[in-house]
Symmetry: C2
Subunit: 441 residues, 2 copies
């Protein structure tokens, strides 16, 4: 049987996971793909360190450059994270025409366009299934399995930490800060959690999904992002009463525009924000650290892909599938059989957030006295915004109480403007809460 040598750059959680999985299932994989995979180098910062898996010392090295340049190495796996050394690793390997597998969404988000170009110029593969929702093979699904489809809707729950926190707040009624602390203690959230809870991790993934699905490069700055830090248990409870759950939802849709806008230049909505989802929708049942991507294609109809989004093993599984693809491509002498990114729709663009049309949930703290509702309703009427339902719990007569307005489809810019006006009314106390509502129509 032919054999290929792999250099794993990075001996952290995922690096150890990949090494371990190859030790366990390498023989099985070899039988399946007809090629044996041997780990020749694992590049680490310190050779002497306690690791979750025992790696022979002759495999360990601290010199990534020599590991990549080793003429016996045919496949390079970048798992160090970050965007500086990782970038040099990937570029060095691609220039040597060695296929690269990466799980680094931050790197691709920041430098994907140039790295994809480099891979194309050198006619070499760049594989990144592990960079988006490790346990869900969504990259291959979009690029290969659903290649005959126009993607009319893609919605994703793409960050396990946020989903775990929201689910815990929902089931236990505990406030955000407490759940976050507990999640950090349990290892479900990083000590430095902002990348997750501010929505940036989900943004990186949404950008990659959007780029692949719609054929033009979607840079992070084009994506509207809101984190979950502002979501209170009160919102989760009101949402529940109204028939919704709150999830950090990535939306990637050629939708959300007034139909009057010219269709000559296709525009796509790409956003990541807390969203009210009807309880009956399949995405509302995605709980805990799990991820899911709901894809509606104009030929295939509704589909859902569900699995763990992160973690050592789910990510290792995705890396192994990419290693197998690289091995098959090398073995069949078709090093760039599927281009890592095909920019076929360069005339397309992302809809500016203010122009996106959506429904909204608005929660206000109001002084409960005659005329309050009239003042708020007048502002909304003046802005041309319709109200689909109002909830004002009893028991606050004369005091300050919550008022929830469910708002019809309107342009986000107009809603934001109206909200600002409403926040200035004397009968409104504190900052209004504004959360998107998605009905998946």
């Amino acid at each position: 049987m032919r054999a290929l040598n792999v250099a794993i750059i990075g001996g952290g959680t995922v690096g150890c996971g990949v090494y371990q999985a190859l030790q366990r299932n390498g023989t099985l994989m070899a039988a399946r793909i007809g090629t044996a995979l041997k780990v020749r180098h694992v590049v680490v910062r310190k050779k002497r360190k306690r690791r979750s898996v025992a790696i022979p010392s002759e495999v360990l090295t601290t010199d990534w450059e020599s590991a990549i340049r080793d003429p016996e190495v045919q496949i390079v796996v970048e798992l160090i994270g970050g965007t500086t050394t990782a970038r040099r690793v990937v570029e060095t390997a691609l220039r040597l025409k060695k296929p690269v597998i990466t799980a680094n969404k931050a790197l691709l988000s920041a430098h994907g366009k140039s790295l994809f170009g480099l891979a194309a110029r050198h006619q070499v593969g760049l594989y990144y299934e592990a960079s988006v929702a490790g346990g869900i093979p969504i990259i291959k699904a979009l690029r290969e399995s659903l290649v005959g489809n126009r993607f009319t809707q893609i919605y994703g729950i793409l960050n396990g930490t946020c989903n775990y926190i929201l689910t815990r707040m929902e089931s236990g009624g505990e406030p955000f800060d407490e759940v976050l602390l507990d999640a950090q203690r349990r290892g479900y959230a990083e000590a430095e959690a902002s990348l997750d809870i501010d929505g940036l991790d989900a943004m990186h993934k949404a950008g990659l999904i959007a780029s692949i699905a719609h054929g033009f490069w979607v840079p992070p700055r084009a994506i509207h992002v809101e984190g979950i830090g502002g979501i209170s248990v009160l919102d989760i409870e009101f949402a529940e009463k109204l028939g919704y759950r709150i999830r950090l939802l990535a939306t990637i849709c050629p939708c959300g525009e007034r139909s009057s806008v010219s269709a000559s230049k296709p525009r796509i909505q790409v956003s990541v924000c807390p969203t009210l989802i009807p309880k009956s929708h399949v995405l509302a049942s995605v709980n805990g650290v799990f991820n899911a991507v709901y894809v509606n294609g104009d030929v295939v109809g509704e589909t859902l892909f569900y699995g763990q989004g992160a973690g050592q093993d789910a990510t290792a599984s995705a890396v192994l599938s990419d290693v197998a693809d690289a091995a098959l491509d090398l073995a069949s002498s078709s090093p760039a059989r599927v281009a890592p990114f095909q920019p076929y729709a360069s005339g397309s663009d992302v809809i500016p957030w203010k122009e996106v049309v959506s429904e909204y949930y608005m929660r206000l703290s109001v002084v409960d006295k005659p005329g309050t509702m009239a003042q708020i309703a007048t502002v909304l009427a003046e802005e041309g915004i319709g109200i689909s339902s109002i909830v004002q719990p009893e028991g606050h007569e004369g005091g300050i109480g919550p008022l929830i307005l469910m708002i019809h489809d309107a342009t986000t810019g107009i809603i934001q403007h109206a909200t600002k006006r409403i926040s200035r009314l004397k009968v409104v106390k504190g900052k209004p809460q504004l959360i998107r509502v998605e009905h998946f129509h």
Copy 2:
């Protein structure tokens, strides 16, 4: 841009769906894969016939052999169904080294082993994503995306007609016969529905999934199959009360054996039968015509793939993805990059049904008098079978009423023997109902 010509053999529902989808999205697909796909022939029985899509008369032909032999044709799509002409179509194309796409699970189930061998000998691709749950790219997921995994559990809801009927019985309380008639009127079930409701369609799919996942050919005769015709509304109602739903479940697991059995020869359980599923499990939420496949891999953990299993468009989407794969393989001169079937575990075998260990739901009609329970319990005790719970609804004193027993893990052969003994007791009237219970442990 390079172009490839396709011959579609079969102008029925799926054939028209593929033609239509290529008309609509062909340009998009070409941009994505870098190859234009042209339909050169659509082979039909009668050229003059009303079709759901207009096909130019110069494309229509009744001569499949000439269409395949046409030197301008590079890719052949077999969509005529059946196992006689379809077999000749596939064999003719493979012998000409032309890659074949098929949606024909019956053909692969009956002759897959020989067709896969033929494809391997001629070093040509044979693609069949559309043959198993069209809207769910499960073949590619198992063979490529999850290639680094040992599949510890695969459970599938693989027949939309059965799932539609069971869901309707569940929500409306209507009996099987009435729902089936209505499903036939609505076009959700064939006039000749036995292939679906007897579980044979799901069996074909389960056999293909099992073969791919475990690396040895699983012939239909090795698969235990029960249809849904014997499921009554009474069973669905009792299941509901006990916390379960009933689904026609395909089980593909290296499990269900007494641990004492030697592990020297790996054995897999492959079955299709109505099964009680805990309501909290994600598969219990799969309703209507939808299909789903739950896959647990030793590296990736839990995953779920959900979509429409059949129908013109979902199947067309799968055919298009295979056509794209064939085109990419041709373009990169790697005609058999992924072998259509890799028999790497030829020493494995399917566990005989009688040896499969499972939990069971048993519903009896019993004479409600002192001693009834004692007689039944004595038989079970003599056979070494434990009872985990008993439900006997009130209101049948002295008459005949239902008795439900939930039975602990036991070998199916022993359960069946005990059931036969119980059915012979004078206090037991009519045929006992025995349905599997799955807890996904």
